[in-house]
Amino acid sequence: MITIENLTFRYGPRATPVFLGFSWHVAPGEAWSIIGPSGCGKTTLLMLIAGLRRATSGTIRVGNTIITRPRPETGLILQDFGLLPWATVWDNVALGLRVRRFYGPDGKHAPRGQPPPSRKEARRMVEEWLRRLNIYEQRDKFPGAISGGQRQRTAIARTLALQPDLLLMDEPFSSLDAPTREDLQNLILQLRAEIGLTSVIVTHAIEEAAILGRKILVLGQPPNTAPLVVENPGAGAPGYRSTVDFLDKCTELRTLMGLAH
């Protein structure tokens, strides 16, 4: 799904490269977490895969596309939900579908060969996702008038309404309180099991990385030259967060991040 070859990225010609000759592979259907201390480049890596930043050198391939711009089949969810403050929950969820209708299936902004949904069909999809994420009652409210958890549900609905094959998430739950966070983590696990999409989640929370990632990429202080991968096959199983395996995995990650410092 994602193939990164020989990636080098730096923020300025004289800056220390964040990635130097870095290669990494994500197979279809895998669930990854990326973790590391702040400044390690985890968000940068996600933005590069999303096509919102350009690599200094090397190639990033997602599906069959070499990434030079956002790829229409990739969904992205940010920490700071990125909702339009002047649009209702309904209009925010419908935004991606409207953008698709705006361009038509040009292959650049919307998937080629797949005609954008008609107005009626789009309405049905928006309603379906609002109900599925339990925010249908909030549909006429503005983002400023709903809770943080509901805002993030809105952002998730907006992204999933476009039926992505790859879901990228950048610290999606870090500004939420603990019960809401756990609730949304379970929602992601459930949706992932239902839809079967590939996912990459960036987080600074060790527990979150272990709950959501069946494979965990640990980044250290730049430059990152080779991926350090922790296998975590138990993630996603019901009740995993209260098992001994889970606690062991967290300890292992903590140690690794200590070493990475």
């Binding site: 920490q79 909702l83 339009l84 991606g96 953008v99 698709r100 902004h109 919307a110 983002p143 400023g144």
Partner: protein
Amino acid sequence: MGERLLNLGLALTIFAVCWTALAAALRRDIMPYPWQVLPVFVSEMRGDLWDHTVASTARVLKAIVFATLIATPVGLGLGQIRALNRVFSPLIGLVHPIPKIVFLPVILVIMGVGETSKVFLIALILFFQILVVVRDEAASLRPELIQSVRSLGAGRRALFRFVYLPASLPAVLTALRVSVGTAIAVLFIAEQYSTRQGLGYYIVTLTWQRLRYEKMYAGILAMSLLGLVLYLIVDALERVVGRWRQAGES
């Protein structure tokens, strides 16, 4: 809405009472009573005054359209491209506080004494007001918002349609609401020169200089109503477009 109408009615009543009191205190021709002016206003509006009002309204509306069409994209550009803003912000800061009316002689010489110079002068005032508010609004659009909309597939055109346009619309209305009064004041002065059309000409040349005070007040009333109606329209639009602000910032 009912409450707003009630407030407007109350304001009009207080206004009429003050007017009457002032007229009673002064007891001079230059300050007639409201009931002397209102019949003149109605009969004049059926005749020439209506044409003058239409001429003035057309000038203000042209200036609003012209200023909005130019200031909005420039403001969006300055707000989103930091390098541009760094270069032009000091310049705007310098020119913005200058009362644009002082440029009237220059504009008259360069653009001629006709219609263009009058509309241009009003548009100039609105231009800077809109520019500054739209620029600040565009600068407050967070990069995360732009990035997440881009990740939904939006390119430049869709960003304009779905983000920049809806973000700048309330800014334009705010700018118009605060500056429409100034624009009409300047219109009054601009209509003193080489025109036989417009409320400024009607009030000064046709009535005041001929000591027709009731008619003069009919003109003043028409100009006040022009300002009031424009303000109310802009204010109402602003309420509709800015509904989300009352729901709290996100």
